[in-house]
């Protein structure tokens, strides 16, 4: 029997009787990170990293949640389990499962570069590696984060100088906070949509250092905040709420902005290439460093990526999962 198996409810460990990021309700779930397609409601018991826990509680409400620190080893039935940094968002983990000397790593979502906010990705040696492939095509190669920060700040400063509000669309958990650390507060005030500010508050309470932000609720008068940049989830761009800020330009921060067609369709005025997923070189280096021979490719360009890995000598196969929903695709 394998240490991990694949069932209609999700990735399952028979020796420990638990699931990893299951998409159907099960009695015990280990969660790689708090995004909605990985941390779903309805599980009997949850186990996640201590850093991921506060956001999960906020999103999932009253849940039975146990936590573990990175590197801490837990024995669950016949399985030795530990969480290791995935670098995707604060608290995100690769889950290492060892049963009778066979080591599996389910990596959830991950990126290799240090974003200055999340605990940086750590390669974990294993025999079997489960990898995402959201950007598993050779056309994806991320620019340097400092360069993207410069582009965003330049754009913001231009908007401010022209008397326009800079509206920046991004995912509320992870991407928004990463952007906050990249923004130059000297340009002007940073306003946030409620969905983002909730997550900010939770992370500040955890001791994560974020610049000062102002919650843009119904009482806020945009005129009191000239030269502002507003961080908002993509769904809020162009909404009635957004329109009350007056003359504005909209930008969108996502790995998908690397493709001109998508940029023109989705970005409004500007698209900034910044992703919390690994790019093509990142996926390949992560896979190499695990030393694994068996690769299971989940959400993304699965068929293409698995075929390439097979040609390069890995024993790769596609895994059908329910990770990678449309909302996530928007914000990746």
């Amino acid at each position: 029997m394998s240490a991990l198996t694949f069932t209609p409810s999700g990735i399952y460990c028979p020796a420990g009787d638990f699931y990893i990021d299951p998409w159907r309700p099960v009695s015990r779930a280990l969660i790689t990170h708090g995004h909605a397609d990985h941390a779903r409601s309805g599980m009997g018991a949850y186990l996640a990293t201590d850093i991921a826990a506060p956001v999960m509680r906020h999103r999932l409400g009253e849940i039975a949640l146990d936590t573990a620190a990175y590197g801490e080893v837990r024995q669950i039935g016949g399985a030795r389990v530990s969480f290791h940094p995935a670098g995707h968002v604060p608290g995100s983990a690769q889950i290492r499962v060892e049963v009778a000397g066979e080591v599996w790593v389910a990596s959830g979502d991950y990126k290799i570069v240090d974003d200055g906010l999340s605990t940086p990705f750590e390669p974990v040696k294993c025999h079997h590696f489960i990898t995402e492939s959201t950007f598993g095509l050779p056309v994806f190669r991320w620019p340097d984060q400092a360069e993207v920060a410069r582009q965003i700040n330049d754009w913001w400063a231009q908007c401010a100088a022209a008397g326009k509000v800079a509206f920046l669309g991004c995912y509320a958990l992870g991407k928004a906070q990463r952007l906050l650390t990249m923004l130059d507060p000297a340009i002007g005030p940073i306003l946030t949509h409620a969905a983002i500010e909730h997550t900010n508050r939770i992370m500040r309470t955890q001791g994560i250092d974020l610049p000062e932000t102002v919650l843009a609720n119904a009482d806020l008068n945009p005129k009191d905040h000239p030269g502002a940049l507003v961080l908002a989830p993509p769904s809020a761009l162009g909404s009635a709420w957004a329109r009350k800020f007056g003359v504005q330009e909209t930008g969108f921060a996502s790995g998908w902005m690397a493709l001109r067609g998508i940029r023109r369709r989705r970005a409004g005025d500007r698209g900034f290439v910044i992703s919390d997923h690994a790019d093509w070189p990142g996926l390949l280096s992560a896979i190499s460093e695990t030393g694994a021979e068996n690769i299971y490719v989940t959400h993304g360009y699965t068929d293409i990526f698995a075929r390439y890995l097979t040609e390069q000598g890995w024993n790769a196969q596609v895994l059908k999962t329910e990770f990678g929903t449309d909302t996530e695709e928007d914000a990746a």
């Binding site: 095509l137 050779p138 056309v139 994806f140 190669r141 493709l259 001109r260 067609g261 005025d269 293409i304």
Partner: protein, 530 residues
């Protein structure tokens, strides 16, 4: 190239016309003369002769990127643009270049004269010295198809602003058969004799569609009605003993339609006619299918010349005795045109497109219903006092087309779109029932909103049955109302029919798949309208 890339970014990052015009006007102030001319050429669809095949480009790009060719080919439909796919897969450039746009164009123009090895090295060196945006533009210079949100009209406006000249004059100057490698800025933009080039056509005046009955247009007596022909809009120029045929797409088509050469025997120098290029039957136009056989053929076999002889069905006179008539009222232009055509022999390749008499809008609406029998798509309404304007303008000219034919069909294949629609499923194949089988009969890729395309894309991803490269077969589930302008028998298609201008009129989410139309329904339409 840096300045041109800056212009491209400014245009690409904005959807606002004013911003684009300003960026272009600034560029036309600052760039070198050669760069300016090539920029005009590129944005008006002229590009250097292709120096390298796209097959070679793909192979070289995959090789430099260190990836197998199949991987490149799989990535291409996802990116949706070849030039961009190449720019993205290549490793970062190792050197920097300060050369301008025309340097690279001259380099590409010289390539056909060198051996393939040298050609390859030149392209690889270019890739290795340009940043991703410049690389994308460099590739576009080779592959062509510069659709980057700059219409000719927009560029004309920017040029007019940068040079302080009239927009219509500028439009006229940019038309015609000029060669960016030969022409000077002085000759193209500034020289005082705009008629120096005898081949130069006038910009076409285009009509807007009338979506309701024309009752609001005022008294019928102020209007001229004609059939709206289903051919190619064309301009016939006879000047200085030569003749030139232009399509509305600004393509010089003189050689495609050799029968029009005889117009020189009957039509005096200094004449420009606007009309429809049509395949002519004995007494009346043939359908579009007949003309279709002629389009795209540079040399025409004798048999086809006899079966589908092309004429210009003239409906306007833009120049007469060397004088530009466009400011004169339509009624006056028409009077001269009628005199001119009256004197033509029956076998002349120019005929007068008749006007339609009517005394009320109701009566005209009645006449319109017979358009298909007349091989027309509907009616044209033109105000009798109207001048001949430039481009699409509201007010004086209207097209009043027939309502399209429609059929309810089942989506069975989906393919992602290109460019702005990359990564969205937008190109669909539709089928009708034949017993228990679904027979594909048409493709369509327009008519839905972006929101609907996103919705159907999410559905396609979840309901894919099989993948054939970029094409996916999907569960037969969704019914769409397909609108089209005509139907023809076509032995090349499995269904036996070919549609004209098919598009998605509506997504029939209310309709179960069993209630889509059948092949018998299509055949019945073929009987009536084919």
């Amino acid at each position: 190239m840096k300045r041109f890339a800056g212009l491209f970014n400014a245009i690409d990052q904005s959807t606002k016309t004013t911003v684009k015009v300003a960026a272009l006007a600034e560029y036309f102030h600052e760039a070198t003369e050669q760069d300016r001319i090539w920029t005009i050429a590129i944005f008006s669809g002229r590009r250097p002769k292709r120096a390298v095949t796209t097959t070679r480009l793909r192979e070289w790009a995959a090789e430099v990127a260190g990836i197998p060719l199949w991987l490149f080919e799989d990535a291409y439909p996802i990116v949706g643009d070849l030039a961009e796919t190449i720019a993205l897969v290549l490793p970062p450039a190792e050197t920097v270049s300060d050369h301008g746009l025309s340097y690279w164009i001259d380099m590409l123009r010289a390539l056909p004269q060198v051996e393939e090895d040298a050609r390859k090295q030149a392209v690889l060196d270019a890739w290795n010295s340009l940043d991703p945006t410049q690389r994308f533009l460099f590739n576009k210079l080779i592959t062509g198809g510069f659709r980057i949100g700059v219409s000719q009209k927009l560029m004309t406006r920017a040029l007019a602003r940068a040079t302080g000249r009239d927009e219509p004059e500028m439009a006229h100057r940019l038309m015609g058969d000029w060669d960016p490698a030969q022409v000077t800025w002085q000759a193209l933009i500034e020289a005082e004799d705009p008629a120096a080039n005898a081949s130069r056509p006038y910009p076409f005046y285009l009509a807007y569609a009338l979506d309701a009955a024309p009752d609001d247009l005022g008294p019928p007596v102020a209007w001229q009605a004609e059939w709206k022909w289903d051919g190619i809009r064309g301009q016939l120029i006879v000047r200085a003993g030569e003749h030139y045929v232009w399509s509305r797409g600004e393509e010089l088509m003189t050689d495609r339609f050799p029968e029009l050469a005889r117009a020189r025997d009957f039509i005096p120098d200094g004449t420009v006619l606007d009309g429809e290029l049509l395949a002519w039957g004995d007494m009346a136009p043939q359908n579009f299918n007949a003309l279709q056989k002629r389009i795209g053929r540079k040399t025409v076999p004798r048999k086809l010349l006899q079966e589908a002889p092309v004429i210009l069905y003239a409906y306007d006179l833009l120049e007469w005795q060397g004088e530009d008539l466009r400011h004169n009222p339509l009624a006056d232009r028409r009077a001269i045109l009628e005199d001119l055509c009256m004197g033509l022999p029956p076998d002349a390749p120019v005929k007068l497109s008749p006007t339609i008499d009517f005394d009320s809008w109701v009566a005209l609406a009645d006449i319109r219903t017979a358009a298909r029998e007349a091989q027309a798509e509907g009616l044209m309404l033109k105000r009798k006092i109207s001048p001949y304007l430039t481009g699409r303008k509201k007010g004086d000219w209207w097209k009043w087309k027939l309502d399209p034919l429609t059929i309810d069909a089942v989506m069975i294949y989906a393919q992602s779109g290109h460019g702005r629609r990359a990564n969205l499923f937008t190109d669909f194949t539709f089928a009708v029932w034949n017993g228990n089988d679904l027979v594909p009969f048409t493709k369509a890729y327009s008519g839905l909103t972006d929101a609907e395309f996103r919705q159907i894309t999410a559905w396609v991803k979840k309901n894919t049955l099989e993948r054939f490269g970029p094409v996916r077969s999907v569960t037969p589930h969704h019914v769409f109302e397909i609108a089209f302008e005509g139907i023809q028998a076509s032995p090349r298609h499995k269904s036996g029919v070919a549609l004209r201008f098919p598009r998605m009129a509506r997504w029939r989410q209310d309709k179960p798949v069993q209630e889509a139309n059948s092949l018998a329904d299509l055949n019945e339409m073929l009987e009536i309208y084919g």
